[in-house]
Symmetry: D2
């Protein structure tokens, strides 16, 4: 391994691509050697993202134009459904960190059901490691292809997996009300994402049928050792960055909210990016903005036998590009916090 | 009854006071004869709310300065806890519409528990009618004192009361995740309500202990005919106006989401301000902004036996001042939509 | 003239179209008989604008499907450049209020220079009346075709025209720094108008070459009696509605800021929609939101011989659809404030 | 000098204090040894700013509780007017970087005129160096007390000083229209800064009498070699961070906008934090957010002989705390970009 890993970012004209670039610019062990954005090939990155001008980054190129011999790692930041064939076409020596949903679902039948077409790279799917770093560090270290979890699934699984594994909550009675900022929808042109359609309002969407539900259930089912279905309802907030998951759970017999908090605090006590808050403190998306932090809190509900679990993170960092860089650090044996130590930016 | 009812607004320097004034300016049967704002007495309303300058409104005065002989109706828009003694001091002929929480809880012991002091006007409390107009129209018509429901309780009770009365949902398994705009906190100075503290973020607050929980439970318990406790968690959104309640319910045996929608659609089919949306449509706060509408939708959950009920309204209109004007219309025998017919303002 | 004028709205799926509908729903003398939105023909208006569902409005139809025999007035709310041919094709008895830029510039050569193609209806252009109501009421009354001024030109001409006519300021030294909300860009899909691109930031655009500059100059040149060129720089603000024009002027010899304020106050003393603020008060877009008001203030600059003129309005109301309805009222002999009396909505 | 400079932050409960802490957490040569916040003494920093919890920072203490023997540098982040006496009381060996306005105006008579009281430390004032780093690097290196410029003055002086020094613009005809985010007002409780009062609106304030005017004029007068007065009007934007100054200038005879751009590009060609944009590119606050960058552009005006100069920065970074850290780096001989290299965060 060279002093600095040579990195290509595929899909550099979208928000997660730009965020990978931002984080790698501050990374002591990574060097960006190629930026791919097919339709913008030939342009400077500053023409697409002015905030990234002036850092000596390479110009945007087409995928076919990359000389892969000088690349070790590729971040794939493409839309869902377009990534499978791209990854299939990459040389074997390239370690791939994919931020799309293409390799997240282990069961290709489930993939076909939710994404509307047969998986185009089922063999690759079998090699893919689900990259929720805190819960799969060992597997990630040796992986060639890491599927970075979705923003909602990260926010939900970090608190719920240890609670289910500990048998502290009833896995069949989980209600997730999740709130996300607008960057979660990416940079694609949709009327519903125009400023005037999003500002000064909130609403639920994808009710009862959001694609992150099967991804969350895949994790929770593993934790429970049997199939788990969850009630999951996402909402769009008029903010750029941030996800807050408000999770309403039923306690297992004999358990209290304090037990849940203790289980989580112990589980994450040595994790640099997961903070379990003290009793009475609630997380806010604004207090993790721009950082790779996930903050979790547990409250007793006033309904006996129930508790409220809250988790907040920045959907572009711990919910996407930050987690991707964290996975790279694990894959390449770097310090896990390399390039990710920046404190949140507030206000 | 004169052609136009003579109205005093007490607490004219707060947001609900201003909203009562805004609505009454467009009301064909009401005339504002006095505006009370103790600390701002002597000033023009335009000095406190520039948007209300130029409409020929009376200057702000102290409560003691009102000549009550020319007043028929008083809107009380004071902070919680300060209203009881004010209403006690009003002449008997004044019909009072109180927007604070002071007379909402029928049980003064519950009031004392949640508001931290003994109720100061228990006799008045016994006369007070809870002013959720669609559900108590008859009582309101004859009331001398109407307690306008809280913004969250309005949003939650409108969909839940008919469902519980019909036995269509399990009253003991209701989870409410509510989202509110910043005006719900009023105009009082609090660091947490500064622009820089609210913008670009979301968070839950009052978790497990918000004062609107007992108010909601008072209604639902009446509907159920037995004590009901709900899981209720409010969240602050970076918007000015709007409440969205996402309510997660368990269906009674044999019931489906479609049944819930049908029950609500029938219950509210002749109501001018409550709309039950067609299957597949979800409400958004931005689409009721500035209007007295409450929009309700029902979705099947992907968890068997569960449904998701969504309700949206403008917290300053149907959640406060609009509902107050609607109550006045009922009390005085006016058309119920008088002054309240304006369509939502979007974007 | 029937009790209610029969109105068609062409371009009902855009923001100015929706705003015309909103205002006409509250208009005592107008009835919407047709809503045109070519690509959405056959849909209910509520599918395009949920806030307009439930008011008994006609479904969207194609332009060709209108029975013009039952229509008296058409509001044209189409994008710039597409309107000329549409208006050409309308029956002669239809009185047309056009909200696009297509008929605003009297000189078709100037039009061609700024809009990139020869004017397609120069004869109609000659008949068109520029609809800045306060300054052209008489002409508008008899017009068949009214070109509703642009949002920026309205905000700038209302304060500047009387000052130039009075010779109180130097017409050759006017600097306009204008700030607009996002709805000014319409509902068209542009990456630059996505929520994440607009929120939490401000920037100038169209610097030195915005199409509203010649429109402003057309008015100011008329007032001055000679060609006037202005420095005009628009900025995009992360708000939905509102324009604020900060206008920096040089005083004519012997004039002071107080003189400017007096000239404007006298000029607009009987106007229902223009308010000249008292010394020391500054307008804010939030205090005119949703209303047809334009508020103007004048301040002495600390540079001797200079003054600062501020004007604020809601770009969708007085800057577009409200002014259009106001023009209709004048054309049809209605009370000028009919349908436009609602107070601003704040917060 | 030790490996890491030992730093105290006085005024750690305000926004500029928090931003100094955020930046120093990522600084390789600085160590925070004391955080002062009188009224919050005894609390953890996380109780005041949750985003700063978990970084091992010292608890908040009272000013009197500091052991100055172990401190080398103090950042003073106190409100205007309260700093003079605090700095007077600091031991002589402490190098002070003051973010308030207290030592910015060289002329104590001007200070008294604008701040309403006689300066309380005129001797210290004489030692103070005005810390606009790009323009006073040499003086700052040796200073004991640096007065960090105001956010508006930084944004205006960086582009204007070189242009005036070069004689390229007419110093007597400068109009500055400046737009700022809400954090510029600090964290003090004011009704006008509540979310509901700031969101969804823009307005001008301090018109003709803002305290940053004399500070700007102090710099421009120095550059011009004679007294200069400017037209300066600040506006409040509904954003957290960011200042955009739109500066309208008259060109000196024979000069064009391109000349201005060239002068600035040459002046700042080796500066790490000032970027002069290529022709046709305009700066946006969102593209410098969170970074220490100032971006400048020049456009030809359509009025002959005029040009438009635009400058954008993050008011909490280059406009306050970032510039303060930059000054520290110069004072202590560190790399000037130490702790300040992070790219902007967008969206």
């Amino acid at each position: 391994m060279a002093e600095r890993a040579k990195v290509a970012v595929i899909g550099a004209s979208g928000y997660t691509g730009a965020e990978v670039i931002r984080l790698l610019l501050g990374h002591p062990r990574a060097e960006i050697v190629a930026l791919v954005a097919g339709r913008r090939a030939g342009q400077a990155i500053g023409a697409v993202f002015p905030q990234l001008a002036g850092y000596g980054l390479p110009d945007l190129i087409a995928l076919e134009a990359i000389d892969w011999s000088g690349v070790e790692v590729a971040f794939c930041c493409l839309p869902h459904g377009t990534t499978q064939e791209v990854v299939l076409g990459l040389p074997e020596h390239i370690r791939v960190i994919d931020l799309s949903a293409d390799f997240r679902l282990r069961d290709v039948a489930t993939y076909a059901e939710w994404y509307g077409h047969a998986h185009r790279a089922p063999e690759l799917q079998r090699q893919a490691v689900y990259g929720l770093v805190e819960l799969a560090r060992g597997e990630i270290a040796g992986a060639r292809l890491v599927a970075v979890p979705g923003c909602y699934p990260t926010t939900c699984q970090l608190p719920l997996m240890p609670l289910i594994e500990a048998g502290a909550i009833v896995a069949d009675d989980i209600v997730i009300d999740a709130k996300s900022g607008a960057t979660g929808a990416g940079r694609a042109l949709k009327e519903a994402m125009l400023f005037a359609e999003v500002a000064e309002g909130v609403h639920a969407y994808g009710i009862g049928r959001h694609r992150h539900a099967p991804e969350i259930e895949q994790g929770l089912s593993t934790a429970a050792g049997r199939p788990v279905t969850v009630s999951f309802t996402p909402h769009l907030m008029p903010i750029n960055r941030g996800i807050l998951a408000s999770i309403y759970v039923r306690l297992s017999a004999g358990k209290a909210a304090d037990d849940l908090r203790r289980i989580l605090a112990e589980r994450y006590s040595r994790e640099p990016f997961v903070r379990v808050l003290d009793q009475g403190r609630a997380p806010a998306t604004r207090h993790v903005r721009g950082s790779n932090r996930c903050e979790i809190a547990v409250f007793a509900d006033r309904v006996a036998g129930r508790a409220i679990v809250l988790a907040a993170l920045d959907n572009l960092v711990k919910g996407a590009s930050g987690q991707a860089v964290q996975a790279m650090n694990v894959m390449l044996g770097f310090a896990e916090t390399a390039g990710l130590a920046a404190a949140p930016i507030f206000p």
